[in-house]
Amino acid sequence: MRMETSDEDMARAAQDGDRDAFAGLLARHYDRLFVLTFRLTGSRADAEDLTQDICLALPRKLSGYRGDARFSTWLYRVAVNAAHDWRRRDASRSKAADGWGTWETGRRAAEAEAAADHAWLRTAMAALPEDLRETLALTLDDGMSHSDAAEILGVSEGTVSWRMSEVRKRLRALAAEDAG
């Protein structure tokens, strides 16, 4: 097992063509990548597709990883950019808008009643502008600090904090609207 090997070392090995290292990286990050793309797109189906696209492009993209950031940071940046492009490409088909409207369909039936409770969350997520949504999606990740998110998004930490307060403000407003 490669428990001791860091992502960064494995990424370098994969760049040099080490197949096992590449497979190991994928195995380590696939699930988190999926969760992130799900938050970014709001649709399970889109998240599956987007994750696949990212993974298939990864062998080529990997050569662009310089090792100056943590691998996960770099990978998330790739994912955010991919989601960004995805959204823009889908905009013409207005598929993106549908995403958040149906996001809960993939969830377990046991959560059906909770879904009603959270209806406003869907609306809220869909209503957020893209930069806020990206920021929110990243910070929802356990273990992701504002500074990590800032690095991934290529903005300052202050911007992330400001965006998050903006997110809260909007969520609050929407919740109030919903209640009223």
Binding site: R19, F34, R39, C55, L56, R60, R89, R168
Partner: protein, 661 residues
């Protein structure tokens, strides 16, 4: 307050990926990784690195196997021709798409890193053995030229990129007419990854064969096709995250990509035809008739000495890692298969043509390798001058009992042909008659001119292949070295006559670009495809038995009387070929009876035909889709020593994903 965030986290946090999709994606990513390695630079061959080690080990193993005669027979002796007949029950066999449909090429949404136009793409270089005549070829070529021009005009800076699939659609030579049908596939924003320079790919194809009613039209005639380029293109497209352009899918080339366990010929004939009959995967009411031809193998020890001239395109567009660097690696692999008596020479063309390596015995490996290493991409393409020089060099190497071949390696930016295609083809044909053959290897993707490459290889009696990865290079250049370089039969034509008393309707799957007129069969002047040592050719028909629910046409009121009552013959196979150097063809005849049985090899070929049909967007496959193809392919995959079939299944999964998006 931030409990909204917490709520969101709770609501969104538990989602887990679908394990099946996950497995598929991981498999696809590994395939893409391998493809990427294969297209990498030569520095990756450093043996201290793990990466390519496994590939090289594979090559070594293969080499070991190849040195034994039995190994040769087992691995490279795969030429089989299979005809599959299927008839549909209640499905619409009769309405083939009137025109090719444009598929929307879905591109991976990820943004390209600038300059990373490497990876995947495979472009097809397939030589079409067309019966005919340069006039036909010329009109086709012109059509391609126009399309290419349009491509330039519609791919301005405002449109990030456009892939143009130009489908020059010609009628068979017999009527000489042509309808040019062009399709343009506009690719969304990210295309530059795949098509770094200009999207000027041109593919040659024809609409899917129509269903034929046996009573009206019992005979079908076509030329064999041993090319496999289309499969490589399909693979590279799918690995890059988009469905292949419909025009790039030539089903017979996909089917012929795979080695099958066909009976090896015995006796004086250079091949053995075999026949199988099986249930059509996509239609309960029809059957698939498979006709397979297995070419006799030649052994490495007994083959005549080879004189090879590598004609290498070193124009600026060859700079990509999946072009010149991959080409160098591929030729290194090939070199290991040559014998000391073989001679090698290298001619390049870019701006001006030049001889980089004078004819050198293959035993001088160091000298050849260093000449190869000195190659650098730069300049524009001067293909014709290079070709002339390559043939001149070949002429100096010729000796009695030796085989001369020019191997052209290019990314398809071979612009000279368009100015005077007829003269170029005539030149290549003259050289062929003088004993020097031409093979074409395509590298890279982006401006591949499939039609031109085909025309070149067709006239040179050569095979065209598309090399997108190192493992493909191994397959084409190493595993099949003997087949690609030693023709055992020229102008191989197949004619099948169906018995209207048994078969109501039939359809030839694929081979659209290989159709011949019925009268061409016995006309030895008509050119057709060649079969090399160990090659396999497979042809599949979908046939509807008389009385099946799937018969789509009503019986004729004044129909022909039963031509052959109570016959167990479903069809009659005729096969014509010329031995190399002969002018007179020989004939093989064989009745196809309902005693023909099925086997998993034939079933796998049928699944691949179905897969190709799905990619072409035909309607005869009905409700049968990628899901069913995957299930059946998995079931009948059988012994798959090199993993080709497993790879095909991965591609089917990717296609399913891409097609449902």
């Amino acid at each position: 307050m931030s409990d909204y965030i917490e709520k969101l986290r709770a609501a969104l946090g538990e989602v887990l990926p679908d394990p099946k999709r996950k497995a598929e994606t991981l498999a696809g990513a590994m395939a893409a990784f391998d493809a990427h390695q294969g297209s990498g630079t030569s520095t990756r061959l450093n043996p201290t690195r793990r990466p390519l080690g496994w590939i090289l080990d594979g090559v070594r193993t293969m080499t070991d196997i190849l040195t034994s005669r039995g190994g040769l027979a087992a691995t490279t002796a795969l030429a089989a021709l299979a005809l599959i007949v299927i008839s549909p029950v209640g499905r619409d066999l009769r309405n083939p798409p009137a025109s090719l449909e444009v598929t929307e090429a879905e591109l991976s949404p990820t943004r390209p890193e600038p300059g990373s136009g490497d990876l995947v793409a495979a472009s097809p270089v397939a030589p079409r053995d067309r019966p005919g005549a340069s006039s036909t070829a010329q009109t086709r070529r012109l059509a391609v030229g126009e399309a290419a021009e349009e491509a330039f005009s519609v791919a301005p800076s405002t449109v990030p990129s456009a892939v143009v699939g130009a489908l020059g659609q010609n009628q068979p030579a017999m009527d000489g007419s042509r309808t040019a049908l062009r399709e343009r596939i506009a690719v969304p924003l990210d295309a530059p990854i795949l098509l770094p320079e200009r999207g000027t790919e041109a593919f040659a194809n024809e609409p899917p064969s129509a269903l034929k009613i046996t009573a009206d039209d019992p005979v079908v005639t076509f030329s064999v096709d041993v090319d496999t380029a289309s499969y490589s293109v399909v693979r590279s497209s799918l690995l890059a995250g988009f469905l292949p352009p419909v025009g790039a899918v030539r089903i017979e080339e996909m089917v012929n990509y795979f080695p099958y366990a066909y009976p090896v010929p015995e006796g004086p004939r250079p091949f053995a035809p075999s026949v199988a009959l099986l249930q059509t995967p996509w239609n309960d009411g029809t059957r698939v008739l498979q006709v397979a031809i297995q070419g006799a193998a030649s052994s490495r020890e007994n083959r005549p000495p080879l004189n090879l001239v590598f004609l290498i395109d070193t124009s600026g567009s060859m700079h990509d890692p999946n072009k010149l660097p991959l080409l160098k690696q591929s030729f290194r692999l090939m070199l290991g298969q040559l014998r000391p008596e073989d001679d090698v020479s290298i001619v390049t063309y870019a701006g001006s043509a030049g001889e980089v390596l004078a004819p050198t015995p293959a035993s001088e490996r160091a000298e050849i390798l260093s000449a190869l290493d000195r190659l650098e991409a730069g300049g524009s393409t001067a293909g014709q001058a290079g070709l002339v020089q390559a043939y001149d060099t070949a002429a100096t190497m010729a000796a009695d009992g030796e085989v001369n071949r020019v191997i052209l390696a290019t990314d398809g930016d071979f612009n000279i042909g368009l100015s005077d295609p007829a003269a170029l083809e005539a030149f290549i044909a003259r050289q062929r008659d003088a004993g020097t053959y031409l093979s074409v290897l395509g590298f890279g993707r982006g401006n591949l001119d499939d039609a031109t490459m085909q025309a070149l290889a067709q006239n040179g009696n050569g095979q065209a292949a598309y090399i997108d990865t190192l493992s493909e290079a191994q397959k084409v250049l190493v595993d099949q070295l003997s087949g690609a370089l030693f023709p055992i039969a020229n102008d191989v034509k197949i004619q099948i006559e169906f018995n209207p008393a048994r078969i109501a309707e039939y359809r030839l799957i694929g081979y659209e670009t290989r159709a011949l007129a019925q009268t061409d069969f016995n006309d030895d002047r008509i050119d057709a495809g060649d079969v090399g040592a160990g090659h396999q050719v497979t042809a599949l028909f979908e046939v509807t038995p008389v009385g099946s629910d799937a018969v789509l046409s009503d019986p004729l009121r004044y129909g022909v009387a039963d031509a052959s009552t109570e016959s167990d013959e479903l069809a009659f196979l005729r096969l014509r070929y010329k031995r190399p150097g002969e002018d007179q063809s020989e004939l093989i005849e064989m009745p196809i009876t309902d005693a023909a049985t099925t086997n998993d090899e034939a079933r796998f070929a049928a699944v691949i035909a179905g897969f190709g049909s799905l990619l072409r967007g035909v309607d005869y496959t009905g409700d049968w889709g990628f899901e069913e193809a995957i299930a059946l392919a998995t079931e009948v995959k059988g012994d798959d020593p090199y993993g080709y079939r497993a790879e095909a299944i991965t591609l089917m999964r990717l296609a399913r994903t891409l097609s449902t998006r």
